[in-house]
């Protein structure tokens, strides 16, 4: 069974997903991070393949991507490392990257490599739904990969329903009008948006992301969504880390428990 399906079957609330940049802080960190995330109690893992021009990302992920590319990460290494780290764990692992990388790798070959590496689904923010439907849906869904689409505070209700029809994994509820990056808290309008979307009776689970970096933001997001994704906050912690396992455990604990606010 696809591990993403299995996760949502088993858990509908307080799902924690960790995003990290493959090849950062060190070229060989990927597998260790995946295992550390599992051990620390993360429910889902998003392995980011760095891109030279990440327009949807803020400073933290720009920096980790740049460093990872300097370290020598590439698509083939990425798949090898994810396979090594992810093969024996129960948690779903997702590919996250930009479309040009997939296009150059070759969409069919990409799906093959994902299957081979045990990747359960993908998030490709700059592959828009209309082009996905016209050219890639059959290939990706045919390979059993679960698709994830982003929605934002400005996505119309009609479009949210269209994206919900299209997605087979979950809907990624982007918390604000912004690029990735951490913040301390959510304001009233963001909560209003979470609430509005969560009452829409969507077929896919909602997972919130962008700005989840502490217990307050995680808990607020989880009031309305099935779970939340922490990316920039986690990468910042890794930046200063001496021991990936310890850092990951501490970071996960700080998100899950209120005493760390």
């Amino acid at each position: 069974m696809n591990r993403l399906d299995a996760l949502f079957k088993k858990k509908q609330k307080n799902i924690l997903s960790l995003f990290f940049t493959a090849g950062y802080p060190d070229l060989q960190s990927t597998a260790e991070i995946i295992r550390a995330a599992e051990e620390a109690g993360a429910d889902m893992i998003e392995a980011g393949m760095p891109f030279s021009d990440p327009v949807a990302d803020g400073k933290t992920i720009q920096h980790s991507s740049e460093e990872a590319l300097k370290n020598g990460i590439n698509m083939n290494l990425y798949f090898e490392q994810v396979r090594e780290g992810g093969k024996s764990i129960q948690q779903p692992v997702l590919f996250m990257g930009y479309f040009n990388q997939v296009l150059q790798y070759g969409p069919e070959k990409f799906c093959h490599a994902c299957n081979d590496a045990g990747i359960d689904g993908f998030i490709i923010p700059d592959l828009p739904p209309d082009i996905f439907i016209r050219e890639y849906r059959d290939i990706f869904h045919g390979a059993g990969l679960r698709s994830v689409f982003l929605i934002t505070p400005d996505t119309t209700e009609e479009r949210i329903h269209q994206l919900d029809d299209l997605a087979t994994g979950f809907l990624y509820m982007v918390s604000s009008r912004s690029i990735t990056g951490s913040r301390e808290s959510f304001d009233a309008s963001q909560e209003e948006y979470f609430k509005r979307v969560s009452s829409m009776n969507l077929k896919n689970p909602l997972i919130a992301g962008f700005g989840i970096s502490n217990h307050a933001t995680f808990a607020t997001a989880c009031q309305y969504a099935a779970g939340a994704i922490a990316g920039s906050g986690y990468i910042k912690a890794l930046e200063k880390s001496r021991d990936i396992r310890v850092t990951t455990r501490e970071f996960v604990t700080s998100l899950l428990s209120p005493e760390h606010i």
Partner: protein
């Protein structure tokens, strides 16, 4: 040859190229623009204001000048389309004038732009000063350092210049940062992109505004020659906006050869080049599928050209399409060839061209046109901004060649 036009299809594509490969965060901005730009720019009110400003503020029509001594030198008939005489010194202002009016119709109060050499930044800061609009220009930190005079001009015009420190700190990175700003400020901000690149509908918007160049060439050439059609039109191409403008109304006349000259830097095979069509493959950069310079993994590679305006690893999707269809002949010129062409024009005609435009002039060395042929070269900008590079070249090469 297939009949080709410069028109984008209903999905935002030119053949297989173009589209809007954008994250959802950018969708509302672009959708609004896509839904409204045609209706706005086709309206009589818009047309009148746009043509009025192009005439009275920019100084259009720009002259079509028969370069007598240059024609004698090459033993053919050479006309220069004098975009260098526009206000702010390049074709870039045609686009920014159009886009600032568009922005007002869209109700946008804040303008952002990217710039490489600073020409588009200056043209944007200029129309923002003209209309009293807030203006933020993103510029790679490296370009800020090497294009100081234009940075000062933008500041004097009231713009905020934001140095971009990511990536290689040049035009590509400035464009990334402008796109990020736009994602974060969707309601009040209009992004004035500087070339025919970016997601649909930008390539079409900029092409339309620049197409005034070939509209004028046709009328002017008719007056000069009794025939609106030259044998060839030559333009330099970075993103492709001046070339698109100079070619647009000739696309449907297959008897007119259209020649686009890319920047080869130190040579196409030197590893330091910006000749995208020569070196690139289909790929996605800055929201559109076009030809881009990239490695096997799809990471965008850094281009190089002495001319900052051509120092871009992509090209407008319209040109990827026109190349594929064989409608445009793609050529390239090295730094050195462009430099020589710039000195030749200066010495024979008393016109110091922009380094970008000098790449188009350099093609005259590669193809012998006959005495009865007519060739139009789009002189996209003037060379004031490039004085430092020219002086450096004189120092290194004993005064340049003499062509007296």
């Amino acid at each position: 040859m297939n009949k080709v036009t410069g028109e984008v299809d209903n999905n935002g594509f030119y053949g297989r190229f173009g589209g809007a490969y954008i994250p959802e965060m950018m969708y509302p901005n672009l959708k609004e623009l896509e839904n409204r730009y045609r209706e706005i720019t086709d309206s009589r009110e818009f047309r009148e204001e746009f043509t009025g400003l192009l005439r009275d503020y920019v100084g259009r029509p720009s002259p079509l000048y028969r370069a007598g001594r240059l024609s004698d030198y090459y033993n053919t008939n050479i006309f220069l389309k004098r975009e260098d005489l526009n206000h702010t010194g390049a074709h870039k202002i045609n686009n920014t004038v159009g886009q600032i009016i568009l922005a007002r119709h869209l109700g946008k109060k804040r303008i952002i732009a990217e710039t490489g050499a600073g020409q588009h930044g200056v043209a944007t800061a200029t129309v923002c000063a003209l209309t009293g609009t807030e203006c933020v220009v993103y510029m790679g930190a490296l370009d800020v350092a090497r294009q100081q005079p234009n940075v000062e001009r933008m500041k004097m015009l009231g713009a905020t210049v934001v140095p971009v420190h990511s990536g290689n700190k040049t035009l590509k990175d400035a464009t990334n940062e402008a796109l990020r700003d736009w994602i974060s400020n969707p309601c009040d901000t209009h992004y004035i992109i500087g070339s025919i690149v970016g997601p649909h509908p930008y390539p079409d918007i900029v092409t339309r505004f620049q197409s005034v160049i070939s509209e004028e060439i046709k009328a002017q050439l008719e007056q000069h020659n009794g025939n609106p059609l030259p044998d060839a039109v030559i333009a330099c191409v970075g993103g492709g906006s001046n070339a698109a403008g100079a070619f647009f109304h000739y696309l449907q006349h297959p008897e007119v050869e259209l020649i686009a000259v890319e920047a080869a830097g130190h040579g196409v095979d030197s590893g330091e080049s910006a000749a995208t069509i020569a070196l690139g493959r289909p790929g996605v950069l800055h929201g559109c599928l076009s030809v881009v310079m990239q490695d096997a993994d799809g990471q965008i590679t850094e281009p190089y050209s002495v001319s900052a305006g051509l120092d871009y690893p992509g090209i407008g999707p319209l040109f990827a399409h026109l190349h594929q269809k064989g409608r445009v002949n793609f050529q390239h010129a090295t730094d050195r060839e462009a430099m020589d062409a710039a000195f030749l024009l200066t010495q024979l005609e008393g016109i110091i061209p922009a380094l970008e435009s000098a790449h188009a002039l350099a093609f005259l060395e590669k193809r012998k046109f006959t005495p009865d042929q007519t060739v139009v070269i789009n002189l996209s900008g003037r060379g004031d901004k490039d004085m430092e590079a020219y002086l450096k070249y004189i120092k290194e090469h004993n005064g340049g060649k003499s062509h007296q």
